[in-house]
């Protein structure tokens, strides 16, 4: 007579599941997954070795040097100057633009440059046009100018998160609707890059990066080795860019400089209401001197105008508090951690 106790159904099914799970966890012993097939490990590895190239040392050197080479942009170099002021991201902020032109003149800038993104975020896009023309500002196109002048459906800012794109779309629609066709055509007439001599140094001015108009160069996401490669490729002593809204300067081990010149359209997400621009001047020993300059302006009038235009209150709060409330998801971990919102 058997003394075996009958198993209850739940226990039987649990044991069954466990066996299934164990099968799943051990299915790959000695096997490789080739797509959805299981094949002996060596079969996959031998097949993989049939693909791809195995160049010799000389060929590898050749491949790398072809990859790193770039055709000269052939742009005429402006200058030479001893001292220039450079800013980006006006974002329709005519008050900031008036302030930077006055401050740059007071500090003795011989020439003033704007690295693009005239529109977005702020109110009344048309107001900055006469200031840019009368101030004889050397402009280049940002993604905004490229999009507005070509009638594109969006700003091509380069955001990836829907939360960022939501507010970017509001900004773009407002600017596209309120800027005249003549102004948009004028925007599209500016070059995509400029070269300017300051003292002995040749500076390359771009919007995002020398590679892409909407590339974000945040300090914590931009390796020094990458910047050295860029400067080698461009044959420049310095690169000046904007696009991110956050200013920084790095002197590279090679002695060359990269400056994100900042934006004058909104504050730098640091709880301060001022905005930032950059002054570059020739040092006494042939070096390049870089100053990142905080710039107070009439931010309360700007906020009042934004409310009159029914722009989102989130934008107004950024102007009044110095903290970004939108387009935050594009920030790298370091810059995101320093944000209030």
């Amino acid at each position: 007579m058997s003394h075996r106790v009958p198993e209850d159904a739940a226990r039987r099914s649990r044991r069954h599941l466990d066996a299934q799970a164990i099968d799943k966890l051990t299915a790959h012993r000695g096997k490789a997954t080739w797509g959805e097939k299981l094949v002996p490990l060596d079969e996959f590895r031998d097949a993989a070795l049939q693909y791809g190239r195995s160049l010799d040392e000389a060929e590898r050197k050749g491949a790398v040097s072809r990859y790193l080479s770039t055709a000269s942009d052939g742009i005429e170099v402006e200058g030479p100057y001893q001292r220039i002021a450079v800013f980006g991201g006006i974002y329709n902020n005519s008050y900031g633009l008036e302030a930077v032109l006055e401050d740059a003149q007071r500090r003795g800038a011989e020439a003033v440059y704007c690295l693009g993104d005239f529109g977005g975020f702020g109110p009344n896009p048309e107001k900055i046009w006469p200031l840019l023309e009368q101030g004889e500002i050397g402009c280049i196109q940002g993604n905004y100018e490229q999009s507005l002048s070509s009638g594109a459906v969006d700003c091509n800012c380069g955001y990836a998160d829907p939360r960022d794109n939501h507010f970017a779309a509001i900004s773009y629609r407002y600017t596209a609707k309120n800027a005249s066709e003549a102004f948009k055509r004028w925007m599209g007439g500016h070059p995509l890059r400029r070269r300017v001599r300051v003292g002995e140094k040749e500076l390359l001015l771009v919007h995002g990066s020398p590679r892409r108009i909407n590339e974000f160069l945040f300090a914590s996401q931009t390796p020094t080795a990458y910047l050295e490669v860029l400067l080698d490729q461009e044959g420049a002593d310095a690169v000046l860019c904007t696009h991110t809204g956050l200013q920084w300067h790095r002197r590279l081990p090679s002695g060359r400089d990269v400056v994100n010149v900042g934006v004058i359209g909104r504050p730098a997400n640091d709880g301060q209401t001022h905005v930032w621009y950059s002054m570059l001047h020739a040092g006494s020993e042939g070096d390049l001197q870089v100053e990142l300059l905080p710039l107070p302006y009439d931010h309360e009038s700007l906020a009042a105008d934004m409310r009159r235009e029914d722009l989102p209150e989130e934008f107004v709060q950024t102007i009044l508090t110095g903290w970004w409330t939108t387009c935050l998801e594009i920030l790298p971990a370091r810059e995101r951690a320093a944000s209030r919102f």
């Binding site: 997954t33 190239r53 996401q221 390796p223 080795a225 810059e335």
Partner: protein, 301 residues
């Protein structure tokens, strides 16, 4: 007038030429640092990772350093680590330390090994670096009932524990969710993931949504690609493949350098031994390339 409906009566694409994607610039370098070895065996894993899957083995610290050297000479901008589960690798923190000296680094993890001590060490490492450090934490449903059938019994609670530990140490993880449940990517679904993170005290919840690829375990679960799911010449104007990550990335495994993170279990995804071997264009002949094109996928954050 044609009576064909393009979406239904597709002409056979098998005989049309395969388009090629040029490497525009090598911005993103991936490391299959834990190979295909994982402490989970998720039912939607496109490379079928599991505790016994050694299709790709761990990468040694030495191999990672060699590729970092080559990458810095080529001007790579950012580094990503995946597996398998990267924190199974005994040298993972040394690998990250070496990487953060030259650029920003992101680890894709299932969160099971994110204990408080490890999170504190990672936070300290991030603090020492000039560059950003990010954790991407995988989850597939906003509760155990929806997550655990995909990732394994009890994993929902353990992922939440990992997120809690990371947050407590000062690291804000990017929750990475696939569309294995279609509602995950809806506005309501996204809100539920944000709420989960807020419940942990994370004020700035971060979320990345990815489509599923009909490969590996997911192909067993839901079927492989159909024959029409292939890219063909003319699908996009020549040279307009910039939205594809393979125009700016490569993937290092212990078997060589592959075109991207998705195709590592496809022999034809292998492009060479060193990065210099892989600076050429790549044929977009695999059905997964179709997913990337149609969904505009980028595996990076």
């Amino acid at each position: 007038m044609s009576l064909l409906t393009p979406a239904v009566d597709r002409p056979s694409r098998t005989r049309r030429a395969v388009p090629r994607v040029e490497l525009r610039s090598l911005d993103t370098l991936w490391f299959q640092v834990a190979g295909t070895v994982c402490n989970l065996a998720c039912s939607h894993c496109f490379i079928s990772c599991s505790p016994t899957n050694r299709t790709h083995e761990f990468l040694s610290l030495e191999t990672v350093k060699q590729h970092l050297d080559e990458a810095t000479r080529l001007g790579v901008k950012e580094y990503y680590f995946t597996g398998g589960e990267p924190f199974l690798h005994p040298d993972m923190e040394a690998i990250l330390e070496a990487t953060l000296e030259v650029g920003p680094a992101t680890v894709l993890t299932n969160g099971l090994l994110l204990d408080p001590q490890r999170c504190a060490r990672l936070a300290a490492m991030a603090e020492r670096s000039e560059y950003s450090f990010d954790l991407r934490l995988s989850m597939d449903g906003y509760d155990a009932a929806t997550n655990d059938p995909i990732r394994g019994t009890g994993t929902f609670e353990r992922i939440m524990e990992g997120a809690r530990n990371a947050h407590a140490a000062g690291v804000n993880p990017v929750l990475t969710v696939t569309e294995v449940h279609s509602e995950n990517s809806t506005p309501a679904g996204r809100d539920r993931f944000f709420d989960l993170l807020r419940e942990l005290g994370i004020e700035h919840p971060r979320l990345k949504i990815l489509p599923v690829f009909q490969l590996g375990a997911q192909a067993e679960r839901r079927g492989a690609y159909e024959s029409w799911q292939r890219l063909a010449a003319g699908d996009v104007d020549d040279g307009s493949w910039e939205h594809l990550q393979c125009s700016s990335c490569r993937m290092v495994t212990d078997q060589g350098v592959w075109v991207c993170p998705i195709l590592v279990n496809e022999p034809e995804g292998r492009m060479g031994e060193t990065l210099a071997d892989t600076l050429d264009s790549f044929p977009l002949g695999h059905p997964a390339c179709w997913t990337c094109h149609v969904h505009g996928v980028s595996c990076k954050t």
